[in-house]
Symmetry: C2
Subunit: 140 residues, 2 copies
Amino acid sequence: MKTRDVISLISRIRQKVNGFIVSELSHSGIDGIVVSHGDIIYALFQNQKMTMAEIADKISKDKSTVTALINKLVRLGYVTKERDTGDSRVVYVTLTSNGYELKPIFEAISHKVLEVFYLNISQEEKEELIRILSKIDQNL
Amino acid sequence: MKTRDVISLISRIRQKVNGFIVSELSHSGIDGIVVSHGDIIYALFQNQKMTMAEIADKISKDKSTVTALINKLVRLGYVTKERDTGDSRVVYVTLTSNGYELKPIFEAISHKVLEVFYLNISQEEKEELIRILSKIDQNL
DNA sequence: CATATATAGTTTGACATCAAACTAAAATCA
DNA sequence: TGATTTTAGTTTGATGTCAAACTATATATG
């Protein structure tokens, strides 16, 4: 019984975290963005310039999904697309200044989420959790 | 770093498990069903007769989502809907015989998923994992 | 009792998501 | 070099998902 429970538990936690993040974004006046958009922006903080394929790989979404997500971020003014001059199949995505301005907000939210997430969880427990989850991740 | 990782880890595991389940269902000749449908059917194995609201609550989905999911399950012949004779707002959902026939298949898949999921995870680790995840679930 | 409020589900519109088909360009290779 | 294959992205169609508006019925309240 516990066994099957662990999967619902994981689903539920993920869903709550996503809800939490979207709600926090909304509180910061950032609307119309879902976690996948956040993942893309987050990835671009670390990698100024990424191709569509790199983004798809990074956020584990289908490339056609990424097309839609990026088009929305373009519409919202957070990123721009430009074709590679050498290989014109390739599209590079970069943050606009509006996009960069999200960084401190994202960091604050990230911090806040983890604060709630890890409330009353000791350092040993955190490490144990990540260790076990990593093993499971590799199993699958 | 590890901190934010744990959330991607959880998302990734959930995604892999979902993919695994859908793939297994497909191997058993059951197509056009996603995990949410599975969750509903699973819930109905334990509770022969449920209202739409009960199902929504059980699988943590919006009631309008449940309307769509149930309509699909009706179309596929796995469940039936009928209105309460007393309170005609209420709709009861029950499994058809076709639906019941899924039970052994679901059990086999559930078993198989957990076998892979928990490969090389000791009993202590399982318990520790569930204990920590339950705390996190309550934090959120 | 009549009006107001609450409740159960459905409908509608928007959007994330995927898979499959498609387009265009690059790389391979014969 | 010309044909084939591979690669990067987009488009299209289907579907799950949610929130908000809506319908219909039941309950509460004056």
